[in-house]
Symmetry: C2
Subunit: 340 residues, 2 copies
């Protein structure tokens, strides 16, 4: 990415092992994330450019001397954040805050929208896939790198379960994943706030019981009405913009939980008596510690209990990745696979 | 209260039953709350004045036609907020958001710093005390109207338990109550941030294992150091001012919980990637639904397992209540009993 709207495929030196805990992965399948659209909208022009992408399945190409449990040729999926998976914070299940971890999509590691990527803390980060995995499952498995498990994280942090009314704000791939996760956790009612019929139709297939197309005060009034005046026990906020945050506390039932997984495009927000405090709201969420959930979800995808792969509705080659961004930005595609 | 620093005792008409669900209570014991000091600092001069006080034990004087379970002569304690205790929100345990409830300290109900007060939704609100209760227990029982159970609410919302490191911000009566509640819930380590030795000494007696007198960046660094660089699993914020909020997310361990019970004197606050989101922090708390916890705590006080009454370190008559405010405002007293 060389600036807003300026995506180019360029040749750069191949990544190499820098630390004995590194692995180099040959990327088999990658994709574009909703969060990649933020710099696509606003990045200042910069001829150095920035490597993009943080979701990938690939084949181990090289490993550092300290890497255990992995060998060249292994097929792996990576969480969107790398982590040692052994420190106290990882043991708590919050790998995205691992003091020895970090994020892809920078000059330190490179990006996943590439032929190869360097993975630090490879033993802790990468999860092996069966070598004989059905190719048709790869898109679903790629969602475990970020999008599905980000939706899952929202629902998990909010303790979604039987008897709960869950409102999902945002009909993007993360919002729809949150619907699917809430359904899997047994939510009684799932209200999806979104206005793109193709997307909300998939949301309904995945478990949304109601769709609210209205936004702002009108959308809030609709959810309050749907919930008999009481509001939603849980709100999963999968957008990251202030109007979505305001909708979230507007539709929340007293004592309820707002779980955010849309990366906030704001720092300050209302939290006082008139928004969160007065109704004893809980606000949580953050970058999903995908690694904590990956093995369970992998088993579910492999045995057919879980199929989150339908968020992908388009595909490009790596050479054509600018088109992948265009398709997602224009909302012609929900989420685009990229094959190097 | 007729304006900042202007507390007067005046004669007003006696409260009367306005709704069949009302009771009139003859106040036996009341007190001044830390939150009463906010208008004491900032209320614009107003010759109408505002009735003050929301914590009381008293004797039922009259009941409305629809009141059940109470009779004139009963000794009762009231939560600081009245509620029907039957609606879905109350059944969830969030009585302070009861759609048929409200707060004392206004011309609708009167205040508890008075001889009599009107209690709406009396059957749902008031809790009977044994008629033969030892007078020496009354201060401890009065803490169940607000201060102790507000500290308890903070610890309860934050799911304090064995193995947890808990940081309490604020050495006022609510902060010290939060220390006591965290100890009762089995917290492994309790770090009390406060600088008034008389108060932090009581905090130590009640279970604080460490006291940090430093504030701001210095205080944050100290707690991070005490927790081996990882931060505190739980922060109980019992102040309500922005520097306390900033300290709270500064000392928080990734994935941890900030529970606020100091009434926020701000509406907007940092919640984005650099404060809450990046470390998957949970923010919760609010006005304590004391009614939800009152019966359990009452049993514990009566049988001697719980003694939160030591937050009271001074007493005045109702006629001298201006002195009670002065003592608390100057920090000469932690919390002042008021006897009409």
């Amino acid at each position: 990415m060389f600036g807003a709207g300026d995506v180019r495929v360029v040749d750069i030196p191949e990544p190499t092992i820098l630390e004995p805990t590194d692995a180099i992965i040959q990327v088999t399948l990658a994709c574009v994330c909703g969060s990649d659209l933020h710099p696509y909208h606003s990045m200042p022009a910069d001829e150095t450019g920035r490597p993009m992408g943080h979701e990938f399945i690939g084949v181990v190409d090289q490993i550092g001397a300290a890497v255990t449990g992995l060998a060249p040729g292994d097929l792996v999926v990576s969480p969107f954040a790398w982590a040692d998976n052994t420190c106290p914070i990882c043991r708590d299940g919050f790998h995205t805050a691992c003091p020895h971890g970090g994020f892809y999509g920078n000059w330190q590691t490179g990006g996943a929208q590439a032929e190869k990527i360097r993975v630090p803390q490879a033993s802790g980060t990468l999860v092996k896939l069966p070598t004989d995995v059905d190719d048709a499952l790869l898109p679903a498995l790629l969602t475990l790198a970020d999008v599905y498990l980000t939706g899952y994280h929202a629902a998990h942090m909010a303790r979604v379960g039987p008897g709960k009314t869950v409102t999902v704000i945002g009909d993007g791939a993360v919002g729809l994943s949150a619907v699917l996760a809430a359904k899997q956790m047994g939510a009684e009612r799932i209200i999806l706030m979104g206005r793109h019929t193709v997307r909300t139709d998939l949301g309904r297939e995945w478990g949304a019981t109601d769709v609210v197309a209205e936004r702002g005060e009108e959308g809030i009034a609709k959810v309050i009405e749907l919930t008999g005046g009481e509001g939603s026990h849980v709100v999963l906020e999968a957008v990251g913009l202030m109007p979505a945050y305001e909708q979230a506390y507007g539709v929340l039932r007293p004592g309820g939980v707002i779980s955010r997984v849309g990366v906030p495009q704001y720092e300050d927000a209302p939290v006082g008596f008139g928004s969160l405090f007065g109704k004893n709201a809980t606000l949580n969420g953050g970058p999903a510690p995908v690694r904590a959930y990956l093995e369970d979800a992998l088993a579910q995808v492999l045995d057919g209990r879980l199929d989150p792969g339908r968020v992908f509705d388009a595909e490009t080659s790596l050479d054509d990745i600018a088109e992948a961004y265009r398709l997602m930005d224009s909302r012609e595609a929900l989420k685009v696979l990229v094959r190097p």
